[in-house]
């Protein structure tokens, strides 16, 4: 009886799952294994794949460009703390009962919504050294702006600044806003009675109370940052000038889809995966210790 009952439930259960499961198997699970297998081969898509063992991974360690683009990726991630502080600050300004606050929230979120090829083209034009708005604004202050995206020095900061504009009023600000609304008001009232100033209240109450959110945002930003930088650079700089804006994900794209080095690209992708995995593990392991209140 119990068995037949279970079967009756099991049948439809699998049916509901089937479409998703098949898709998941074919386009996610098997490809993950396939790319791992591929990383032990050399293959240009046309000839027969040639087994090379761990050679791709050994080559990767000696690949100067790999390290250089790894450095670029980390450099671009230096914007993460700035973006986070910006989002928290905005959320604190917005966490007040003011008329019309929704309008501001919509406006601040706008860049996040439309981020993509359209805004990358827009910023390419904004950064135009001769005719762009940014250098026109700098001229008011008597500064002749740099060549931004065409400059080895300024290309990375230019992308980081665009990233700030894109993200500062976006998801992270909304998360902070929700966190701030959950801080009990009597904590602040007690601090007022003790004569605490704003700065003290921030460090003693706000910062520790939102620390779980900060931790979540920081983690997700690191994971995103390690994999990031391809689309912007592809549209705005082509990875240049002289490779200054090529990140690991861009390098993977080049090996796989521009140069047909399928095996090497798969090895690179798995190294990236490993990095993301390590960060995720560290988070699980040490997450509890950073969060305190």
């Amino acid at each position: 009886m119990a068995l037949s009952n279970q079967r009756r439930i099991a049948g439809p259960g699998y049916l509901f799952l089937l479409p998703n499961f098949v898709g998941f198997l074919v386009f996610t699970s098997l490809p993950v294994l396939a790319s791992l297998a591929l990383s032990f081969f050399n293959w240009d898509l046309f000839g027969a794949p040639r087994f090379v063992g761990l050679q791709n991974f050994a080559a990767l360690l000696r690949d100067r460009e790999f390290w250089r683009y790894g450095f670029n990726t980390l450099f671009l991630m230096l914007a993460i703390p700035v973006n986070i502080i910006g989002s928290l600050f905005l959320a604190m300004v917005m966490n007040q009962k003011l008329r019309g606050i929704v309008v501001f929230r919509v406006i601040y979120f706008m860049p996040t919504i439309v981020a993509g090829v359209g805004t990358y083209l827009l910023w390419r034009w904004l950064y135009n050294p001769d005719y762009g708005l940014i250098n026109a604004m700098l001229r008011v202050a008597g500064i002749e702006g740099p060549k931004w995206l065409q400059s080895i020095t300024w290309a990375k900061p230019a992308l980081m600044f665009m990233g700030f504009w894109t993200a500062v009023g976006g998801y992270n600000m909304i998360l902070y806003l929700a966190a701030l609304q959950n801080v009990p008001l009597d904590l602040y009232e007690a601090a007022d009675i003790d004569g605490a100033n704003r700065w003290q209240k921030f460090w003693a109450i706000t910062w520790p109370m939102v620390s779980p959110t900060t931790f979540f945002i920081f983690t997700m930003s690191i994971i995103g940052g390690l994999q990031g930088g391809f689309e912007q650079a592809f549209v705005m700089t082509g990875g240049g000038p002289a490779g200054a804006t090529t990140t690991i994900s861009y390098y993977i794209y080049n090996h796989a889809f521009a140069w047909n080095h399928m095996g090497y690209a798969a090895a690179l992708a798995w190294v990236l995966f490993a990095a993301v995995f390590v960060v995720t593990l560290l988070n699980w392991r040490f997450g509890g210790k950073v969060v305190h209140y």
Binding site: P19, F24, P31, Y253, A266
Partner: protein
Amino acid sequence: MKKLLTYLALGFVGLFMLLPFIWMLSTSLKAAGDAFVSFDNPVKALVPREAHPENYAKVYDVTRNMGGGFARWYFNSVLVAVVVTLGQVTTSACAAYAFARLRFAGRDKLFLGYLGTMMIPGAVTMIPNFILMRKLGALDSYFALMVPTMFSAYGTFMLRQFFMGIPRDLEEAATIDGCGLFRIFTTIILPLSKPALATLTIFTFMGNWQSFYWPLIMVNRDSMKTLPLGLLSFMGLYSTQWTLLMAGSLMMILPMIIVFVLGQKWFINGIQLGAIKG
């Protein structure tokens, strides 16, 4: 006084957010030559000397010989985004129902597997998927653009969380009345999940509208491109026509802005639903 300062600060940040869009609109309306003036004054740079709304029609005209051009890319984008969104929401909802309510062997392990794949970088699966589509001869097809992207671990996860929160009493009553699982799913679970479904639909649609990496790899023919790819080829051919490029970009992002402004409540809910998981 304090209120005024707050509004000033909010307004200043708002201007920072909006200025690039104003510049986009202004450029898109300028005469071709007027875009290439070196300004020393942002106000002069931002206000077009004369308005040329025909730039918008021109985007369609000059791209027409690129496999149908902008009109075709728009059609492709709408088609792909709508079909993929419907597909993702449907497959996610069915799977989420199975994970949340039905008992079968290996259910929880499988769900953990789904969760685990959410942290795999796209580049890992992209390479074998490209090879698979190439082997099938499906590159440059709607099949390649749509079918592989119809399955979402994130959507399954989010809806499962929501379904778990629905009280079971209603379903039990329905079971006693002789309702099958499918009836329960369509008449009880789905109607009660409208907020979550609305949120997921909006998120998925927007994500697909902006999708770049996948179509970039799957299609090459101009007539198969979606808007982001089309715009990029357009830039490749007319790299100095900034008035037209900005008009095209604006037409591409406009549906996003409309969907967002209309659905912003669902959007904000969704962010909090997805991130602060129970």
